[in-house]
């Protein structure tokens, strides 16, 4: 087999990568003995490829990993919330045990995410003390204290520049039992205006736990037309359908007929309308 310059050039990179058969390799070497131009090209190409292979990868900063972990936790929290919302109502009523477990899972996720071991133990105490009969005033005082602490954390972190800190803030809100109007307003405003989608999702996740309250649902219905992020749209639609809030029907229809809506969101909208 003999090869001309064009044929050698066509397989030159494979030749240098040792990806040609023995026969082709021999033909290339035979050509290179006679052709000075191809010889020069092969030598230069080899040097180039070796230099490229020797250039090492650079390491990114450590913040990248931290941010990913926060993102991952919040994403899995959303999923857990979504799974809960998707469960049909009667199935949930029958199997309260399952819901209890799932609720704990969400709580466990929050504890992981917010790294608040101390808060975790406080939460744990609260659950236990509901069952055991501890002096009621003591319990009341402690619960009040926890609530105030969490509210303080919420307000101090919600304007933080870091998205992970704002997710933390929103997470505190979720743990407040019977939140007042101000807490709800902060969450709704975060849901509608925060520039980071993870923070907005976390706010919705927190609001979902209070969705039995009428004022909370009022805000959620109003928020629906403002949302453009597919995941938030789906979660909101599922949540309002689950709560059988008929005021959501019109905005859900609008989302369905909007040409910018993703097909997956349209499907979710259609499904939910059937149940309402």
């Amino acid at each position: 087999m003999t090869m001309n310059c064009n044929e050698v050039q066509a397989v030159m990179i494979d030749y240098l990568d040792r990806a040609v058969g023995a026969e082709t390799g021999a033909a290339i070497r035979a050509h290179l003995i006679d052709c000075e131009q191809c010889r020069k090209e092969v030598e230069e190409m080899r040097e180039l490829l070796v230099t490229m292979a020797d250039q090492e990868m650079r390491q990114p900063g450590a913040a990248l990993r931290d941010n990913f972990q926060v993102m991952l936790q919040s994403e899995l929290n959303m999923e857990t919330a979504d799974d809960l919302l998707r469960q049909p109502r009667d199935a949930r009523d029958e199997k309260t045990g399952v819901v209890g477990k799932a609720g704990w899972m969400a709580a466990a996720a929050c504890i992981l995410l917010f790294g608040g071991i101390w808060i975790g133990s406080m939460l744990g105490n609260r659950k236990v003390s509901n069952v055991a009969s501890i002096v009621p005033e003591q319990l009341g005082a402690m619960q009040k204290e926890i609530k105030e602490m969490k509210e303080a954390m919420l307000y101090s972190l919600i304007d933080n520049e870091s998205a992970s800190q704002r997710i933390k803030a929103v997470g505190y809100a979720e743990e407040i039992s019977n939140p007042d109007q101000k807490v709800i307003q902060v969450l709704v405003s975060t849901l509608n205006h925060d520039k980071n989608v993870n923070v907005r999702l976390a706010a919705l996740y927190s609001l979902a736990t209070f969705a039995d309250s009428r004022p909370v649902r009022d805000s959620l219905v109003l928020s629906l037309p403002k949302q453009t992020e597919p995941l938030i749209q789906v979660m909101l639609i599922n949540l309002l359908a689950e709560k059988k809030d008929n005021r959501a029907i019109a905005p859900i229809r609008d989302i369905m007929t909007n040409k910018n809506t993703l097909p997956a969101v349209k499907d979710a909208a259609q499904r939910s309308l059937k149940t309402m």
Binding site: E41, E44, Q59, P60, L64, M71, L72, E75, E79, A109
Partner: protein
């Protein structure tokens, strides 16, 4: 369910560990900007988390899928940059900026006693910066990221033969730039 969750957690963490350094370097080679490359890597992993259900093992490897997404992240970034007045005008503009910087650096170190390989790397970076964005990208994918031709063909929706030709032409151009300096 808890196990599923734990499973997902470690599975996704593992994906991050395996791919974040190469992908960061993919962006770094294209943008020549460390902070920006970290942001783009983060955006990319956000999309990976969000859209991971859309990954179909039947239509190619996870690696092709994730690089495909990485290209989209980079393309979106370029579009956004173009909308911002005074921002950098896309890949070639950034590359010219960098090549100037690299040249300067080379002049500075020329008289000093630097290891030969360092100087080679700087010459190579300067030559890479002078390629067109497409040429630079195909070399980053095939030579720096070590992707196979069929993986790149899936990423770029082109035939393997077409990819091979592109790689060869880009290398030839790079060789001319590298050796004439």
């Amino acid at each position: 369910m808890l196990q599923v969750r734990e499973g997902r957690l470690s599975e996704l963490t593992e994906l991050f560990e395996r791919y974040h350094v190469p992908l960061y370097n993919f962006f770094l080679r294209l943008t020549l900007d460390k902070a920006l490359s970290e942001d783009l890597t983060q955006n990319l992993f956000y999309r990976v988390l969000r859209y991971r259900q859309s990954f179909e093992p039947a239509s190619g490897s996870f690696r092709s899928w994730v690089y495909r997404m990485a290209r989209n992240v980079y393309a979106d970034h370029l579009r956004q940059e173009q909308k911002v007045p005074g921002g950098m005008k896309g890949g070639s503009g950034a590359a010219e900026g960098m090549s100037g910087g690299a040249d300067e650096k080379m002049d500075r170190v020329a008289g000093e006693d630097v290891p030969y390989s360092e100087e080679q790397f700087e010459r190579l970076d300067a030559a890479m910066a002078k390629l067109t964005p497409d040429q630079r990208e195909i070399l980053v994918l095939s030579r720096y990221q070590g992707l196979k031709y069929d993986e790149i063909s899936k990423i770029k929706d082109l035939s393997v033969a077409a990819i091979k030709v592109q790689v060869y032409r880009a290398l030839r151009q790079l060789r001319t730039l590298y050796f004439k300096q």
